[in-house]
């Protein structure tokens, strides 16, 4: 449905060389899917979205939607944004304050070349306002809406012209925490119901994980990793991805050789000689980093009796923080600190010894060079 190929964007600044905001960005989004560009601010995600929208002109590359080229540097194609038929929700919502709710939502239909009758417009607008539960507010001034309602109106306005693509630029970031969580469900429901292909930009990893079919993690203008939410979370390829999505322990180590199973490798680290997971083949003797999520660190007062006798070590409780639904332990293994998140029933006092275990597939090898971290 949407194909972005080798997209490059540069900003010219008054002084110095041009800033490359997007470097060789490529990805494909199938019809009806929810695709998220995730990354810290300044990573090029918004630039990529604005390039798709037509708000910015890339320096090179190709963008294709539904088999139609809308931008190609080689063939000198650039479809103006007002002929692209994409819906977009802006971070500020961009609700026109001088119009009513109805007028805001009707605007895209009124300015279209192909003319619709008044009743056709009315039907379509009321249908989309109903979908976002704003039909009762149709005649209200748009500025009289609450933040969440404005957000839904922006969504309605983006959807009313039945766009080929729905573009969302951090639409939830201006809402308070409670509302944001509710709108997350709402957004997901609407997108799944309508089946509209959606590109979503956010810096909030939990939003990305909750909403997306697929996530592209970006940093410094490049896509670092593309995958399903689960794959991105459980199998990060770089330190940056592991760290950006959730908290992570990083333990430096050296590859000893192939492990006993597929994708399993023997890695020597301060924690001991452990089995770790890597999809890519590793060089024997190469330096790597193990990424271990705190919730995957098993702790016990007693030695582990069940399961395979691998990836075990002993440490001392250095600190602990009670957080209600769980408890964070900081465990000192030799000189290495390991963060573990466990059930609050574990009550080992600070200074006591403790047993540590991590399942081999939860010990994920990430490239140690932190060039992209």
């Amino acid at each position: 449905m949407l194909g972005v190929r080798s997209l490059n964007t540069e900003y010219k600044i008054a002084q110095g060389p041009a800033v490359r905001a997007a470097k060789n960005v490529s990805f494909e989004v199938p019809t009806g899917k929810f695709f998220t560009l995730l990354g810290p601010s300044g990573c090029g995600k918004t630039t990529t979205l604005r390039s798709i929208a037509g708000l910015e002109r890339p320096t090179s590359g190709e963008i294709e939607v539904g088999g139609k080229l809308i931008y190609s540097s080689q063939q000198n194609v650039f479809v103006p944004l007002n002929r692209r038929n994409f819906g977009m929700v802006f971070q500020s919502y961009a609700i026109w304050p001088h119009m009513t709710v109805y007028a805001n939502a009707a605007f895209p239909l009124e300015v279209r070349k192909k003319s619709l009758t008044k009743t056709e417009i009315r039907d379509k607008v009321m249908r989309v306002l109903h979908a976002v539960a704003l039909d009762e507010y149709a005649d209200r001034d748009a500025t009289k809406l609450s933040g969440g309602q404005q957000q839904r109106l922006a969504l309605a306005r983006a959807l009313v012209m039945e766009p080929e693509l729905l573009l969302l630029d951090e639409p939830l970031s201006n809402l308070d925490a409670k509302l944001r969580e509710r709108m997350r469900f709402e957004l997901k429901r609407i997108q799944r119901d309508l089946g509209v292909t959606t590109i979503y930009v956010t810096h909030d990893q939990s939003e990305a994980l909750a909403l997306s079919h697929e996530i592209a993690v970006m940093n410094e203008g490049e896509i670092i990793q593309v995958g399903s939410p689960r794959a991105i979370y459980e199998r990060p390829r770089t330190k940056f991805v592991a760290e950006f999505i959730g908290t992570c322990n990083f333990i430096d180590g050296v590859v000893l050789g192939k492990g006993t199973r597929d994708h399993a490798w023997q890695v020597r680290s301060p924690l001991g000689d452990w089995q770790a997971f890597s999809e890519d083949p590793l060089q024997e003797g190469g330096k790597v980093s193990l990424s271990i999520r705190p919730e995957n660190v098993e702790l016990s007062d007693e030695p582990f009796s069940t399961g395979a006798p691998t990836n075990l070590c002993k440490g001392v409780v250095d600190q602990k923080v009670f957080l209600g639904d769980f408890i964070d332990f900081q465990v000192k293994v030799g000189e290495t600190l390991l963060l573990a998140r466990t059930h609050p029933s574990l009550r080992t006092p600070v200074g006591d010894p403790i047993h540590v275990r991590v399942a081999p597939e939860k010990c994920v090898v990430v490239s140690a060079n932190s060039a992209t971290a």
Binding site: A53, G54, F78, L81, N82, W96, V111
Partner: protein, 577 residues
């Protein structure tokens, strides 16, 4: 950063032609024509001999040679500088003092005084000066006559026809401008800077003197330059007070050169170019200063309530000062106009004169054929120039702020350039321009419209750009993404959102164009008089009572207009004006 405007530009270049380029191109051409062409003609004229029936105009340095080797010019320069310095310092001192009282003290009725400070806007400069002549001239001035009667002497106590008198009249007239500039600065100053001085044990006045005013110094310097340039440009005061006693400044010298016989347009142009260099230098310096003032971190983005100081019993003194100022600037001038408008022949207030109250002058003024024409012309010119300027500058601002077109800063500078042109210089430039290129515009009302549009372009820019900066760019982008063309977006989204700024600017331009004299005086001809010109003529003819009657009606009219404007603007949500 690449933006919407850039994208529209490139995309339309590669596809079919977008009509918006016609609109934008047209606007740019009009603005460039208005601001640049007359200036070129002025420069050209200053290097030419006057064309006459006998001889063609020839290139010459004679004008400059004559001007710069004459001791007359030195005197002119001295007078202009002293006059502008005195007037601007007086305005700054009064304005800053009042601003401090208004913003920082618990003086009673201060919000009322704040509202009063904009009232002088209704009074055209020529009326203010004539009112002060009636108050303080040696022969007919009420002050003198009352004092002479009281002490039974013929000693002249005050004489307005002096350099000091000119500075006084111009200074107190423009103190409100200083007041507005300085109160904006005081309002945004971080109060903790003063609070810490108070906690160190400083008295209220020590804090005001050693902290508040010191912190406000960069802003005060910028305000001073604005006032100084404005005083250099002022025409009414030097023409009415200085010319009769031979105290000439540049503006009145230009007027004399053109108006005397034989009129010397070359000399006038050379004076005009010299004056222009002075004002341009002042404005340039002021903009440099304003840019550097940011380093004085007194103004932070934080919202806070400025500290109000308790003056104790002194607050009645400050209130008294305010009342005195209001009396000098609003009360007395208006009352003297009202008084003289109800007399058949101008006379000093007395019981005898009170018996002679009549409304004959009003009747007489309304019967003048030129008054009706002038009012009609002024109203038409005000409405037309305000509307045209606001729409033109809306497009210019959009180009400057919303596109990435190369060289758009030049456009910005062109449209704000008339700010440095004194009215009389602008009038002269336009006169030369349309005399030379012909086209039948000279001698019609259209030349006045051109002059007004040029003169008020910078105000339109200021109102529109501050309004446009408040419009989030995404509001336009989402319209474009919705499928709207540039024109639809501009008409249905940009203009409606710009409305508060558009209306505020429009009202402001209407008011100042009704008061405009210094350009009009060179450009009008029989049939195209405007209100200020008629006032000028009444003065020259010595018809003081009719002048007063006309003035009173004018002030009343402007007052009603401003009240209406306030109502309208409250409805569309403006707080300025």
């Amino acid at each position: 950063m690449a933006t919407l405007g850039l994208e529209l530009e490139r995309s339309s270049a590669s596809r079919n032609f977008d009509p918006k380029w016609l609109i934008m191109g047209f606007v740019v051409l009009v603005v460039a024509w208005l601001a640049l062409v007359p200036l070129g003609f002025l420069l050209w004229q200053s290097f030419m001999t006057p064309a006459s029936a006998a001889a063609e105009a020839e290139f010459t340095f004679r004008n400059y040679l004559e001007v710069y080797t004459s001791s007359e010019t030195l005197r002119l320069f001295g007078n202009s500088t002293i006059y502008a310095l005195g007037s601007s310092i007086l305005a700054l001192v009064i304005g800053t003092g009042l601003a401090w009282v208004c913003e920082r003290t618990n003086t009673p009725f201060k919000s009322f005084f704040y509202a009063l400070s904009i009232v002088p806007m209704f009074m055209p400069g020529i009326l203010f000066v004539t009112a002060w002549i009636m108050l303080a001239s040696p022969n007919i001035g009420i002050f003198n006559l009352l004092l002479q009667r009281a002490f039974d002497t013929s000693y002249v106590f005050v004489d307005i026809y002096t350099l000091t008198g000119m500075m006084w009249v111009d200074g107190i007239q423009h103190a409100p401008l200083a007041f507005l500039l300085m109160s904006a600065t005081l309002k945004t100053m971080d109060p903790s800077l003063e609070e810490s001085a108070l906690m160190s044990g400083a008295s209220v006045f020590a804090v005001a003197r050693r902290i508040t005013l010191k912190l406000a110094l960069p802003a005060a310097a910028a305000a001073f330059l604005i006032l100084f340039v404005r005083a250099l440009e002022s025409f009414e005061t030097p023409a009415l007070l200085g010319l009769p006693v031979g105290i000439e400044v540049f503006t009145s010298a230009i007027w004399e050169a053109l108006h005397g016989y034989p009129s010397d347009i070359g000399l006038g142009s050379t004076y005009a170019v010299t004056l222009l260099a002075l004002t341009a230098g002042g404005i340039y310096w002021q903009s440099r200063l304003a840019r550097n003032a940011g380093r004085y971190a007194t103004v932070t983005g934080k919202g806070f309530r400025p500290r109000v100081m308790d003056l104790g019993r002194w607050r009645y003194v400050t209130a008294g000062l305010f009342i005195l100022y209001s009396l000098l600037v609003i009360g007395l001038p208006f009352l003297v106009l009202l008084w003289s408008s109800m007399q058949r022949y101008y006379s000093v207030p007395s019981w005898d004169a009170l018996q002679n109250i009549s409304f004959d002058s009003y009747r007489a003024v309304l019967a003048f054929p030129s008054v009706g024409t002038a009012v009609w012309n002024s109203v038409m010119l005000a409405l037309a120039s305000a509307t045209a300027v606001m729409l033109l500058t809306a497009v210019i601002c959009w180009i400057v702020l919303r596109t990435q077109i190369r060289g758009r800063w030049i456009l910005d500078n062109i449209a704000t350039m008339p700010l440095v042109m004194p009215g009389i210089v602008l009038g002269l430039s336009i006169m030369i321009c349309y005399l030379v290129i012909g086209g039948g515009i000279y001698g019609t009302i259209w030349i006045l419209l051109i002059a007004y549009m040029t003169r008020f372009l910078p105000y339109g820019m200021r109102f529109n750009s501050s309004a446009m900066l408040k419009i989030h760019k995404e509001l336009e982008e989402s319209a474009a993404l919705s499928g709207a063309s540039w024109f639809t977006t501009f008409y249905r989204v940009v203009l409606p959102l710009l409305k508060p700024g558009l209306i505020a600017g429009w009202i402001y331009i209407v008011i100042i164009s009704v008061r405009e004299l210094s350009s009009s005086i060179l450009l009008y001809s029989p049939g195209s008089e405007v209100i200020a010109v008629v006032l000028w003529e009444l003065w020259q003819n010595g018809q003081y009572t009719q002048l007063s009657a006309f003035g009173v009606m004018l002030i009343a009219g402007l007052f009603v207009f401003v009240l209406l404007a306030q109502l309208i603007s409250r409805r569309v949500g403006i707080r300025e004006v």
